[in-house]
């Protein structure tokens, strides 16, 4: 190899290095992040969703006065209510064809933003989480819906206050169609083996901790862990906001100290599996629950449909299972839990906004709610009938306690809407990770959260 060649090579590589880091190129990490993808609402055993966008038109050829809309969403193959919704809508509006644009779940917000910045003609957008919503609103990618809501006489009171929580500067940019909340899943066989009574629907955090210690037994590969915290920050940290005295966007996080101390003590005592090990082995919470390794797990209601389907397919060995209400701090009523909202919006760049809103209104409205509930997923419009419909699905645990578990009295949003929520989330996720891996102490972690979020809020 001669020197001029090496020299030019060096220059080119240096340039390539910088350009690879420039904002305009797509993230190189998509492929590598796929295994960590959180598959919510898995329903059938289908191949992994790919990160690459795929478009699949519905089979019917469009008629003359037909309208074609493009809907951006994630995990098309794993989520059964998309097709159910399309079928139901087709019955009402046969002229409208809707293409599904699957952007994958692992990096949905990033891929979606890239598509929108690139001028993709998306008409309808699924909102995966609040930080993603806040960013899309800030970037003006979502159409304000207030005028559509009033002209179509949409009754927002049906959503039980969530529309108000999604309002930014007096305008709302999405309508919720799914509203999940957190509950306790437990393995009845393991409780029977330990000779311990099943979890009640009114556990305090202290009682939950004590119960988890009671149902921990065995050694080595046969060991049963009393509880399980998935490697999401929300699975641990948000016990702290259930009392309604603090929110996660406050900027002051001293109230989290007892929460972290309790969970780290459980980790030290071998009541729960080590966060670091779960993380580095990429263990998915469903695998831990399916394999009869854990007696109790706190997780969102999206896992109900998955667990029912996997018991049926034989993949979940935890066939004798139940549910209980989320554990709560002292002095807070049972049925207080965390919630997340999945929304559906109209793209501000769409040329068919009225048609797009009509579909948004259908999906989020009472008709869509019935369709979504029939697939075992909890719709945003959640009344007693919907809850009863889900609790009577084939495969749902038949005991009264498990049916009662779905009744909530108060739902606190995992992440309240805030224009800095994306940045706050990064800081909190990172400090949570550092605390849970013992990289820093609880006090250092909380100090870092306070400092970093103060910095974010000041800018």
């Amino acid at each position: 190899m001669n020197k001029p060649f090496l020299r030019s090579l060096a220059i080119i590589v240096c340039l390539a290095l910088l350009s690879a880091c420039a904002g305009s190129s797509p993230p190189a990490a998509n492929a590598t992040q796929a295994p960590a993808s959180q598959v919510e609402a898995t329903v059938a055993p289908v191949a992994d969703p790919t990160a690459a966008p795929t478009v699949e038109p519905t089979p019917e050829a469009p008629a003359d006065n037909s309208v074609s809309l493009k809907w951006a969403l994630w995990d098309k193959e794993l989520t059964i209510y998309y097709q159910a919704l399309l079928d139901a809508y087709k019955a009402v509006k046969p002229d409208v064809t809707i293409e599904l644009l699957d952007l994958g779940s692992a990096d949905y917000n990033t891929v979606l933003t890239t598509q929108l910045q690139g001028g993709d003609d998306i008409d309808i957008i699924c909102i995966k989480d609040i930080p993603g919503y806040a960013n899309l609103v800030k970037q003006n990618f979502l159409e304000p819906l207030n005028s559509y809501i009033s002209s179509n006489n949409v009754d927002t009171s049906l959503f039980g206050g969530t529309v108000e929580q999604l309002t930014v500067n007096n305008d709302v940019y999405t309508l919720p169609f799914r509203s999940d909340f957190w509950i306790i899943y437990y393995n009845k066989d393991l409780f029977d083996k330990a000779g311990v009574a099943y979890p009640a629907n009114d556990l305090t955090l202290d009682q939950y901790d004590a119960l988890a210690r009671q149902v921990t037994f065995g050694e080595g590969p046969e060991k049963v862990f009393g509880a399980h915290y998935h490697t999401w920050r929300s699975a641990v940290q948000l016990f702290g906001v259930l009392d309604g005295l603090h929110t996660i966007v406050d900027g002051s996080y001293d109230f989290l100290k007892p929460i972290y101390e309790r969970v780290l003590k459980e980790q030290d005592d071998g009541i729960v599996q080590s966060y670091a090990e779960l993380k580095t082995t990429g263990t998915h919470y469903s695998a831990a629950f399916f394999n009869n390794q854990i007696a109790m797990m706190n997780m969102g209601s999206w896992f109900i449909a998955t667990q029912i389907a996997k018991v049926e397919s034989g993949e979940s060995f935890s066939t004798n299972w139940g549910m209980a209400k989320y554990p709560h701090p002292d002095g807070v009523p049972a049925g207080t839990t965390l919630g997340t909202i999945t929304g559906i919006s109209v793209s501000s760049h769409s040329t068919k906004k009225d048609e797009a809103f009509d579909f948004v209104n259908f999906v989020s409205g009472p008709e869509g709610a019935v369709v979504i509930a029939s697939t075992g997923t909890i719709p945003a419009i959640k009344n007693d009938d919907v809850v009863a419909a889900i609790a009577s699905l084939p495969g749902y645990p038949t005991d009264e306690g498990s049916k009662e578990a779905l009744k909530t009295v108060k739902t606190v949003l995992e992440m309240p809407l805030h224009d800095k929520s994306a940045d706050i989330e990064i800081a909190l996720n990172e400090e949570h990770d550092a605390i849970m891996t013992y990289s820093i102490t609880v006090d250092e972690g909380i100090k870092n959260m306070n400092e970093r979020v103060a910095e974010i809020l000041a800018n």
Binding site: L18, S19, A22, S25, A29, T231, I426, H432, D433, T437
Partner: protein
């Protein structure tokens, strides 16, 4: 008149030649400018701007750099990246050169062993990282089980590998060496083929032993190869991201503490915070570090070559 015609003819011939030459360069250069040069210049400009990809661009001067120098996580990422580079570069070079020397011998099944050494480089990162995570799992992994049998120490006293803040960087360094040494071995093998065998022969006749032949013939003859390997290794080490994400990122997809690296900071700033200006400022620092190291190496290489 006569000379003027000649001049015109000469010019046109030269222009023609140039045109042909440019036309050969064009396909590559158009691609390079479109996908590398333009984004590069854009990135440079972005570092003094504030932009979220949609709203109007604002000029913010050196705010992004001021913020970066005050950002503790940036310094932590820089420190981790430097540590990783300091570990990976010399050890990978040594391992690759050692392998190349071994597999350059005339031994039975040489091609098979070359393939074996190259295999980790071809294997999918995600798949092999999963296998490594399992092998090095502190409580359930075979590595610690073997260590336990040898040392009889309880598992809590054995290294926590990727799960332990002190072992995290060494663990990825080992992983990275194993994963990439096959590639650099191939480059070294190619370099070794270019060494004139007569040099060894005459050195042997003069009574040089194996060590002296290595010291006075192999190493100097491999200098350009070593330089190339060193440069590529350093650049790749500074750009490290995928290995850390596959091994350390949990379900929230974050890196923290001793596992944070520079490119992760860039990714976060650009694609999670939608702050392309800040991301470009960090990218620029990364670029300058690599550029400076490369310039120093060029100077060193020139000296060494003489």
């Amino acid at each position: 008149m006569n000379s003027a015609t000649q001049a015109r003819k000469g010019l046109s011939r030269k222009a023609k030649e140039n045109l042909i030459a440019y036309s050969f360069i064009a396909p590559n250069f158009i691609g390079f400018s479109l996908f590398t040069l333009v984004p590069l210049i854009f990135a440079l400009v972005l570092s003094v701007l504030s932009w979220d990809g949609s709203n109007p661009i604002e000029f913010v001067g050196f705010d992004n750099f001021v913020r970066m120098f005050k950002d503790k996580t940036f310094w932590q990422a820089l420190q981790n990246t430097l540590l990783y580079t300091a570990g990976v570069v010399p050890m990978t070079m040594a391992a690759a050169l050692g392998l190349a020397l071994l597999l350059n011998q005339k031994l039975r099944g040489r091609n098979f062993f070359r393939t074996v050494a190259f295999f980790p480089y071809v294997a999918s990162l995600v798949a092999v990282a999963a296998v490594w995570s399992f092998l090095f799992s502190p409580t359930r992994g075979p590595v610690n089980q073997v260590l336990h049998m040898i040392t009889n120490l309880p598992v809590s006293k054995l290294p926590g590998w990727a799960t332990d803040k002190n072992w995290a960087i060494p663990t990825v360094i080992f992983f990275s060496i194993w994963k990439t040494m096959g590639y650099y071995m191939v480059i070294y093998l190619a370099g070794l083929q270019n060494v004139n065998p007569e040099l060894y022969e005459s050195a042997s006749l003069d009574g040089a032993g194996a060590i002296n032949r290595f010291r006075y013939i192999t190493i100097p003859q491999l200098a350009p190869t070593t330089f190339f390997v060193l440069m590529i290794l350093i650049i790749n080490s500074f750009k490290v991201y995928d290995i850390f994400i596959t091994i350390f990122a949990g379900a929230d997809n974050v890196l923290s503490g001793t596992t944070r690296v520079l490119v992760y900071q860039i990714y976060n700033a650009a694609f999670r915070s939608l702050n392309y200006g800040y991301a470009s400022a960090i990218a620029l620092v990364l670029f300058l570090i690599v550029l400076i190291i490369t310039i120093i190496q060029f100077k060193g290489e020139k000296k060494f070559g003489e």
